[in-house]
Amino acid sequence: MLDTRPAPPPARGAHRTIRPTGVERTFAADELIVSKTDPRGVITYANDVFLRVSGYAARDVMGQPHNLIRHPEMPRAVFQLLWDTLAQGQELFAYINNLASDGAHYWVLAHVTPSHGPDGRLIGYHSNRRKPSPRAVDRIRPLYDQLLAEERRHPTAKAAVAASSRLLAETIEQRGGSYEELVWSVISSEER
């Protein structure tokens, strides 16, 4: 079920126990969700679309770790790849399912880049997200389900992320390209 209304205001201090409701929220195709973090991943900026879709007030997100909106059904391997790619100074495009403060979820096509100061030093990360096409999400979801199933077979987060990262690398290798090429093959065929 699609719910395009703004999320209701969250109960303060309750983000850690949000349970997904299965309700899908979406946003307009001409909107960009934007946020910035410091080099540790702590949110330093979130735009109005971010706040409206996630259902948080600015004061609820500022100074919070970005995994505040992490959905439990997102494989950790994807975030591992995100941070590995950013650590190399590279950009990354990824389909990501986010969790709003009221338990609704919203899929985004995220573009994440490192931000550099005038002296070239890393000052943080920037992410803008677009509304993905539902067919693109359908294409990417089976891979995420596979990665998640692999992660759930391991007792510790560390073992889980190692195993699913391996599986992701193998899957990419089998398709004969890079993760970037995999994402762009989905974008090129489904995001028109």
Binding site: K36, N47, L109, H111, N128, K131, E180, W184
Partner: protein, 320 residues
């Protein structure tokens, strides 16, 4: 209405004017930073301003303006960097970009497509050049291989031919010696026959004298006359036999002369053949194979080798 009512009742006009001025100052700083190219700059809300709807709206609008400029700069430069590195799958996503940003994104994507097409043509040209090099290589290698094989065979044939010609020369020499000794024998036979002829003539003369002497002896010489006649017949028979032998020997001499002249022609031909074989050997193996140290004429097998090495150098150049 409720917020507006609260604001109206909780602040004096002077307080609200100060709030506006503070926000204008802070937004001016953000705009200045953005004008200097610092696209990290954003307006930040403090709770007092958040309560003023007009300021809240202005804050959001200013940040949206910066967000889209920031996103466009990040993505367009990354898209062009990717295209320059040959990663043409990385487009500039037009979704979420409006107006001039979108037209600019479209223009950048067209430029990227043109770059991709050019790169494709360059790759195609490179591929066809490499394919040509491969074809050329296989032709040249096959050709030089064939030439090398042919020259090896020709060299072997020439060598075999040379050996055969030398053997023929020897045989012709031997045959010429045989004929010479045959001619010599014929001459000796003629001498012997001349001697026999002389003896026969002398015998006939003796027989004639004996006949005359027998006639003069009368009856007593009759028996002797018979013997003398027999002797004369024998001498006549001998003379006829030597005539036939002489004719036979003459025939043998003529035949031997004909064979000798034939053998001379064969000898000349074999000699000419030797010169031709030398020519072939020089063409195939080079002139130094015949007279070491002389000015070298390149042989066919060396030429095949040279062709192969020249072609290899050319191909290396072509494949760069």
């Amino acid at each position: 209405m409720g917020i507006r009512g609260t604001r109206a009742s909780s602040r004096t006009d002077a307080e609200e004017l100060e709030l506006y001025r503070a926000f204008v100052r802070s937004l001016t700083d953000v705009c200045d930073a953005a004008a200097r190219g610092d696209l990290e700059a954003r307006s930040h809300l403090d709770p007092a301003i958040e309560a003023v709807p007009e300021l809240r709206t202005l804050h959001d609008a200013a940040n949206r303006m910066l967000d889209v400029a920031d996103a466009f700069v990040r993505e367009s430069s990354a898209a062009l960097t990717s295209a320059a590195e040959g990663r043409f799958h990385r487009r500039l996503l037009e979704r979420g970009l409006l107006g001039a940003y979108r037209s600019s994104a479209t223009a950048i994507n067209s430029a990227r497509a043109a770059m991709q097409e050019t790169a494709g043509r360059v790759i195609e040209a490179q591929t066809s050049r490499l394919r040509m090099a491969d074809e050329f290589e296989s032709v040249v290698l096959a050709m030089s291989e064939q030439v090398a094989t042919a020259s090896t065979e020709m060299s072997a044939s020439a060598s075999g031919l040379g050996t055969a010609a030398a053997a023929a020369s020897t045989e012709v020499g031997t045959a010429q010696q045989t004929i010479a000794s045959l001619t010599q024998s014929s001459a000796e036979i003629r001498e012997i026959i001349a001697m026999i002829d002389a003896v026969a003539a002398q015998t006939r003369l003796l027989a004639l004298n004996a006949t005359i002497e027998a006639a003069r002896a009368g009856e007593a010489g009759k028996g002797f006359a018979v013997v003398a006649s027999e002797v004369k017949d024998l001498a006549d028979q001998t003379g006829r036999a030597t005539e036939r032998v002489t004719a036979q020997v003459e025939q043998i001499r003529q035949a031997a002369d004909a064979v000798a002249s034939g053998m001379g022609t064969v000898g000349t031909t074999v000699g000419e053949m030797n010169a031709l074989v030398d020519g072939i050997t020089a063409a195939v193996d080079g002139s130094s194979s015949l007279s070491p140290g002389a000015d070298d004429t390149t042989g066919l097998s060396q030429m095949a080798e040279k062709l192969r090495s020249e072609a290899t150098g050319f191909l290396a150049e072509m494949r760069r």
